[in-house]
């Protein structure tokens, strides 16, 4: 029984989280639609809270059930038009959803319970309900010729919507359609969706079709600014009739509503129904991903076997093996792609959490903030999305706390008093980029310098450029907050953000202009598990460099390497490229250098804004590698992301370009010289 309880709790938590996520997103829409919020949306929000309440009640989660019950009561009145939309109401909705979220989290972490003021929320809900007097209901049917069955099948809510449409002077129409049984759901959804552009489908009643054996009929009740002739044009397959009695003609709506010619029905089928979503335990996906990884290793072994068989009699076998390996490769690619796709979720999933936080923070800071979220459909590995929430939250907090000025300050500098934070997600090649842009005061390098001096991070005479200033912000021990602010504080600084992003094999960079604003740009690989890598050789060992970090590679000679201020560089076209000897970085003995004519390869890599040439002895090949994590001992070694098998059981280390550049960027030679001297 206990086990069943666990399962029920798990099921509930996951469904509740989904519901609350959708709910939060709907709330953002709700707020942005203002007073003219679409009734369908209000009803949807009501239904979501209603479902949550039902679930919580069944499974005995008393607090969630109680809070959602109160909330549902208020939303019911709202959808029935008994109370009106106000700022208090919107604030309350956000707070209540936030409270519900916390309660759901507290199910699995009881230490968090007791943090939600349920009685306080209940009191606020009660106030909103009682402050607004009930409107008298009148009979919506008096002006209509509505058949008995349709009338009896209306829910209380549908009846209310009908009344609202009658009151608003809309055309009230009945549409009868008959569809084939095999695809009526798609057809009907498409029709409903095009009708919704110029009105509201109030009810959908299924009926027995006349004269069609394998079909089903529907009678739609539709309130619209369009008259029956116009609706007939939108839905040519329907039998359209006006339900208004002749004595009560409808007011024709505004001209712009009548020209809103809906799209053809067939093209409106983008609705994704719930049943098309699959909820999968991520550990199962990890398992499949591991199998794919092992298959890739098998394939690589097959390949090297085929390469090794060069003897005359083995030619044919080699040829056949090669063919098998290529087929295997194609299949593997397919499998890999589909598994990766399953792992992908839209980043929009965390948007709702972010918008809630921003709202709350803005209130705490007494600043007016507009949060704009873009690219919510951009997809990213589920695990990464989870891991991304905290760093993103931190950056947004920073923007609100330090970036955006208060309203007076903004007015004084000629800015709009409402600060703007824009979060944009988009895909760029194999990466997903997330930009957090604020239109605040921007980052002043001089201010950074002063703080860094005060924190003892740099000497007080040290001159720093803008880039160095930005780097300093990501150093442990740096915080511009004069007092540890409750908002940006929480004991972590940007150094932790950077570490988190680097753990996801991503980079973070800053673009800022004093007085105009700041952008934090996070760039992440789409997935972590399998990458394309360049296998190189340095100091007698092989290494894998992720191709996502590689810009290009070229061959040079020792004589091409120059020294600038004790740092080795190479002139690449018109650009001075700092060089980093891979063998040196990992402390390997290298006897490759035989003077001016020694051949080298430079792998030009980029991490964020920094470009460095990694000097290696040879380029081996390009191949797909499966990154495996390595033991604790090597985990902390900068410059190493993990290990991988590259066929024939050979293990090589995978280079982490980001931390490699951070740690050794051009200093390897000096460090080594110093070590040799001591």
């Amino acid at each position: 029984m206990a086990k069943e309880d666990d399962r029920a709790r798990e099921e509930f938590t996951s469904e509740a989280e989904e519901l609350l996520d959708t709910l939060s997103r709907d709330l953002v829409d709700f707020e942005s639609q203002g007073q003219s919020v679409r009734p369908e949306l209000v009803n949807k929000i009501f239904r979501e809270v209603h479902s949550l309440k039902g679930l919580a009640g069944m499974l005995g989660f008393v607090e969630i059930s109680e809070l959602s019950h109160n909330l549902e009561d208020m939303l019911d009145r709202l959808r029935m038009g008994k109370i009106e939309i106000s700022k208090d109401l919107i604030d309350l909705l956000y707070d209540a959803v936030d409270g519900l979220n916390r309660l759901v989290i507290a199910i699995n972490d009881p230490s968090l319970s007791g943090l939600v003021d349920i009685t306080g929320l209940a009191r606020r809900i009660h106030q909103i309900i009682t402050n607004q007097p009930l409107k008298a209901a009148d009979d919506p049917f008096a002006e209509l010729t509505l058949d008995e069955q349709t009338r009896k099948s209306l829910t209380e809510y549908e009846e209310h919507r009908l009344l609202e449409n009658v009151r608003a002077g809309k055309h009230i129409l009945s549409l009868e359609v008959t569809f084939d049984f095999s695809d009526f759901d798609e057809k009907l959804r498409a029709l409903t969706s095009s009708l919704s552009e110029a009105g509201e489908v109030i009810s959908t009643l299924p009926a027995i079709p006349t004269g069609m054996v394998n079909g089903i009929a529907f009678r739609l009740l539709y309130g619209s600014t369009l008259n029956d002739a116009a609706v007939q044009a939108v839905a040519p397959e329907a039998k359209v009739a006006s339900l208004r009695k002749a004595s009560a003609p409808a007011i024709t709506g505004p001209a712009d509503a009548t020209v809103a010619a809906p799209e053809p029905v067939e093209e409106e089928m983008s609705l994704r129904s719930l049943s098309q979503t699959v909820r999968v335990d991520i550990s199962r996906l990890d398992h499949v991903m591991n199998i794919v990884g092992e298959l890739i290793i098998e394939k690589t072994q097959l390949e090297s076997l085929a390469r090794a068989m060069t003897q005359q009699q083995a030619r044919m076998v080699s040829h056949e093996l090669g063919k098998i390996s290529r087929n295997l490769d194609r299949k593997l690619n397919e499998l890999q792609k589909s598994v990766i796709e399953i792992r992908m979720v839209p980043v929009g999933q965390i948007y709702s959490k972010l918008s809630r936080t921003v709202r709350k923070l803005a209130r705490e800071l007494n600043k007016e903030i507009e949060l704009v979220l873009r690219g919510e459909d951009t997809e990213l590995d589920k695990m990464m999305v989870e891991e991304l929430t905290d760093p993103l939250m931190h950056i947004i907090r920073n923007a609100l706390d330090h970036g955006i000025e208060n309203a007076d300050e903004r007015r004084a500098t000629g800015k709009h008093p409402v600060g703007k934070v824009v979060l944009t997600a988009y895909q760029q090649g194999n990466s997903v980029v997330l930009d957090v842009r604020d239109d605040g005061r921007g980052i002043d390098p001089e201010r950074i310098r002063r703080v860094a001096v005060a924190r003892g991070l740099i000497g007080d005479k040290e001159v720093i450029d803008q880039q160095r200033a930005y780097e300093l912000m990501f150093t442990a021990g740096f915080s511009t907050a004069t007092a540890v602010s409750e908002i940006s504080g929480r004991g972590v600084g940007l150094d932790v953000v950077k570490k988190n992003i680097q753990e996801l094999k991503g980079t973070i960079e800053v673009i800022s202009k004093v007085g105009e604003g700041t952008t934090f740009r996070i760039s992440l690989p789409i997935t972590l598990a399998i990458i394309q890598a360049l296998i190189v050789e340095a100091g007698g060992d092989m290494f894998a460099i992720p191709l996502t970090s590689v810009e290009e590679s070229l061959r040079i000679y020792s004589r091409d390497i120059r020294r600038v201020e004790r740092r080795e560089v190479f002139t690449l076209r018109d650009y001075t490229l700092p060089l980093l000897r891979l063998a040196d970085a990992f402390g390997l003995d290298d006897d490759h250098d035989h003077g001016a004519d020694t051949k080298w390869f430079v792998v030009v890599t980029r991490a964020g804004e920094k470009t460095v040439g990694i000097l290696v002895n040879a380029l081996v090949r390009q191949q797909e590698v499966v990154i495996k994590s390595i033991g604790e001992r090597l985990k902390m070694t900068p410059g190493i992301a993990g290990a991988t098998e590259i066929g024939e059981g050979e293990i090589v280390l995978v280079v982490d370009v980001g931390t490699l550049i951070d740690h050794f960027g051009g200093r390897a030679r000096e460090v080594r010289a110093a070590a040799a001297a001591s």
Partner: protein, 125 residues
């Protein structure tokens, strides 16, 4: 015997079927699930149901519309229906009864209430 459970929440559906299955072990009972009114309509011609349990608040077509359709259908009108909803939709439950739904159950409910009402609906002891 075969019953249809129409409910848009997957965990509520799972909960309902678990209770029904454990409470009716002695009968040969098969449960068919539908996650929406549309799914219910689609599955109807493929089975001979002895009872239908439905939620009211659902997307696409709601429980009342489903009840109305069933009770006006020459073949399906004889299938007994139980409407399951929360107390806030009392008015809608009354309407469902007016449309011909035989039984109703208010969420949250006790497992034995569900089983008892289902037995009554199926006319088994």
């Amino acid at each position: 015997m075969k019953i249809l459970v129409v409910e848009d929440s997957s965990s509520m559906r799972a909960y309902l079927t678990t209770i029904i299955e454990s409470g009716t072990e002695s009968y040969d009972l098969e449960i068919v699930e539908a996650a929406s009114g549309f799914e219910a309509l689609k599955t109807l011609p493929h089975h001979r149901f002895d009872a239908i349990l439905t939620d009211i608040n659902m997307p696409d077509i709601n429980g009342l519309e489903l009840v109305s359709f069933l009770k006006n259908h020459p073949v399906y009108r004889s299938i007994p229906i139980m409407v399951i909803s929360t107390e806030s939709t009392e008015e809608d439950r009354r309407r469902a009864a007016a449309l011909g739904a035989e039984e109703y159950l208010v969420k949250p409910f006790e497992a034995r209430d569900l089983v008892e009402k289902l037995r009554r609906l199926l006319k088994v002891a």
